[in-house]
């Protein structure tokens, strides 16, 4: 099992969720994060002082999937999330040892 962490543009969330649904991925966890890679900050102003918000808000999608599905999922996300502009985001693949379904106590890739 692998956890796929994708940090993406907020506006792309709907599209990605739809794309993931289409390839049969249902379990996802979403959280609000901020961050930067090579993207520049946004300049804002407040009562006469300008400043840079260099931590633009992003959405993080996490989904734990079967190891054999990793490539498909990554490709799907890349396709849906891509705008070809700086700030499109990053995806990380992280090993997962075990997954447990709370309701049943079952474990293994089948609970995903």
């Amino acid at each position: 099992m692998k956890k796929i962490e994708a940090i993406i543009r907020s506006e792309k969330l709907d599209e990605i969720r739809k794309a993931l649904g289409d390839i049969g991925i249902n379990g996802i966890t979403i959280s609000e994060v901020k961050g930067h890679g090579k993207q520049k900050g946004i300049t804002q102003q407040w009562r006469g002082t300008t400043y840079k918000v260099d931590l633009p808000p992003k959405v993080r999608i996490e989904t734990v999937v079967k190891t054999k599905e990793v490539d498909k999922v990554v490709t799907t996300i890349v396709e849906a999330a891509r705008t070809d502009n700086i700030g499109d985001g990053k995806i990380f693949v992280i090993p997962v040892d075990e997954a447990i379904q709370v309701r049943t106590g079952e474990t293994g890739e089948d609970v995903l």
Binding site: S10, E11, L13, D14, E32, I42, T43, Q44, Q45, W46, T50, P57, V59
Partner: protein
């Protein structure tokens, strides 16, 4: 006491008595008297009412901000500050003169920059300046209504230009027709109206319909928000970011409306103000109850935001007939308006005309209905003569009301449509899709309204 003295005394008493009986002569030179107190009472009343109507600006701002998304809240507060500010100046420069100045049947041509009005009065009792401020806050109300219908996508500069022209021209012209001695209350154009002038006591048409129909034109020209409508009649909800702000706005509007309607006597010595306060209150209450009940039936649960709209609807509708109908009729009128707004909101969504706060329905549709309702529910005991259709007056008055409603719709919709089109073709009316998605606070003002809070990306709701 000699005969001579006696004569003098008698003479004196007579003069004095006459003085008091025909009081108009006396006021200026005589020092305080009954008449000067009337002026004072009327002025105090008119000013306080004006201040209360001013506070409706805050109500409109909060209603609009609460009913829309957090990413646009700063822009919305800004628009509401600026439409009042720009409107005040525009109405000072020429708006008031176009509305109340003598001139043609269609617009007045006096009072440029309010020149020379110091120490003059209007309606005999109140200083012209007291009348001006009362009318200025009314003008600003008409202007600000549009803001809500075009929220979350209008370019700020375009909104400013619109604000200026509605306060300078569009609103004052309609005002002239109905309140300024223009053609809707004289026989100049349609002689029938000379005997049956349109009744619009506090402005269901003059203020609210003007705002509502301009909002309609604006919403059509600018188009719906991104994601608002899907395929096949699909309407997607875009919930507002703070129901607490929105309903606080409703309360402030309700409060200010007492000044709006009862204040429109511009005379505290006119005790009709008591009846007006009652009809105003009951119509709002009935509007709330009806909107709540209907949403409960239609959607399974009573809807908070729509109930707030029901209150506004009731208030808008009672604005025209507030001094010519009985309290019981006011309840009817409010209830009908409360129902109307629910269906009207759905209707405009069907037409894919996107109005984030329901301004077209609450102000345009219910303003028209309210104006007509004066022709239906007027009672001689309240109106001092006119009876509506339901009280044996036949359709005469209703017809007059209808003429008013239709002609104002045609004029305002057309004028506003042209205005928005011209703005669109010049400075631009709508922000870019990118800016709309990321929020107007950032795009128009380089800020965020609530930087200390974690925001949720709110996908469009289906």
């Amino acid at each position: 006491m000699k005969e001579y003295d006696k004569k003098q005394a008698i003479l004196f008493a007579i003069i004095f008595a006459l003085l008091l009986i025909s009081p108009n002569i006396s006021a200026e030179e005589e020092g305080p008297n009954v008449e000067s107190n009337i002026s004072a009472i009327d002025t105090v009343w008119t000013l306080i009412a004006a201040f209360m109507v001013f506070l409706m600006q805050a109500g409109f701002a909060l209603l609009e901000a609460g009913f829309t998304r957090a990413k646009n809240a700063g822009n919305i507060m800004m628009k509401n500050m600026m439409d009042f500010s720009i409107g005040s100046i525009a109405y000072f420069i020429a708006g008031f003169g176009i509305m109340f100045g003598a001139g043609t049947a269609f617009f007045g041509t006096e009072y440029l920059m309010m020149d020379g009005v110091l120490n003059t009065t209007m309606w005999g009792t109140i200083p012209t300046y007291a009348f001006w401020i009362f009318q200025a806050v009314f003008a600003a109300t008409a202007a600000t209504i549009v803001s809500g219908a075009m929220a979350e996508r209008t370019k700020f500069i375009g909104y400013l230009i619109y604000s200026f022209f509605i306060s300078l021209l569009i609103y004052p012209m309609v005002g002239h027709w109905i309140w300024g001695g223009g053609w809707l209350t004289t026989g100049e154009v349609i002689s029938f109206l000379a005997d049956n002038p349109i009744i619009d006591f506090a402005g269901s048409t003059v203020v609210h319909s003007v705002g509502g129909w301009a909002a309609l034109a604006g919403a059509i020209v600018i188009g719906p928000r991104i994601g608002r409508y899907g395929k096949d009649r699909q309407v997607n909800a875009i919930p507002g970011h703070s129901i607490t702000f929105a309903i606080l706005g409703v309360f402030l509007l309700w409060f200010g409306w007492f000044g709006f309607n009862a204040g429109s006597t511009v005379a505290g010595t006119n005790l009709d103000i008591a009846t007006i306060a009652v009809t105003t209150n009951l119509a709002a209450a009935a509007g709330a109850i009806m909107a709540m009940t209907l949403t409960w039936i239609k959607f399974g649960k009573p809807d908070v935001g729509m109930t707030g709209n029901g209150i506004i609807a009731g208030l808008v509708a009672i604005t025209a007939p507030c001094d010519v109908v009985s309290p019981v009729s006011a309840i009817m009128i409010g209830a009908i308006a409360g129902a109307l707004v629910v269906y009207s909101v759905a209707f405009f969504d069907r037409l894919r005309i996107d109005d984030p706060v329901g301004a077209i329905s609450a102000h345009g549709v219910c303003g028209a209905f309210g104006t007509l309702s004066a022709g239906l529910f007027a009672e001689a005991a309240y109106s001092g003569g006119v009876n509506g259709l339901f009280f044996g007056g036949g359709i005469t008055q209703l017809l007059a009301q209808l003429i008013g409603v239709v002609s104002v719709f045609v004029f305002v919709f057309t004028a506003a449509f042209i205005l928005f089109k011209v703005i669109d073709m010049t400075v631009g009316l709508r922000v870019s899709p990118e800016e709309e998605l990321e929020g107007l606070d950032l795009g128009e003002h380089g800020m965020t309204a609530y930087p200390d809070f974690e925001h949720v990306y709110n996908p469009i709701r289906r």
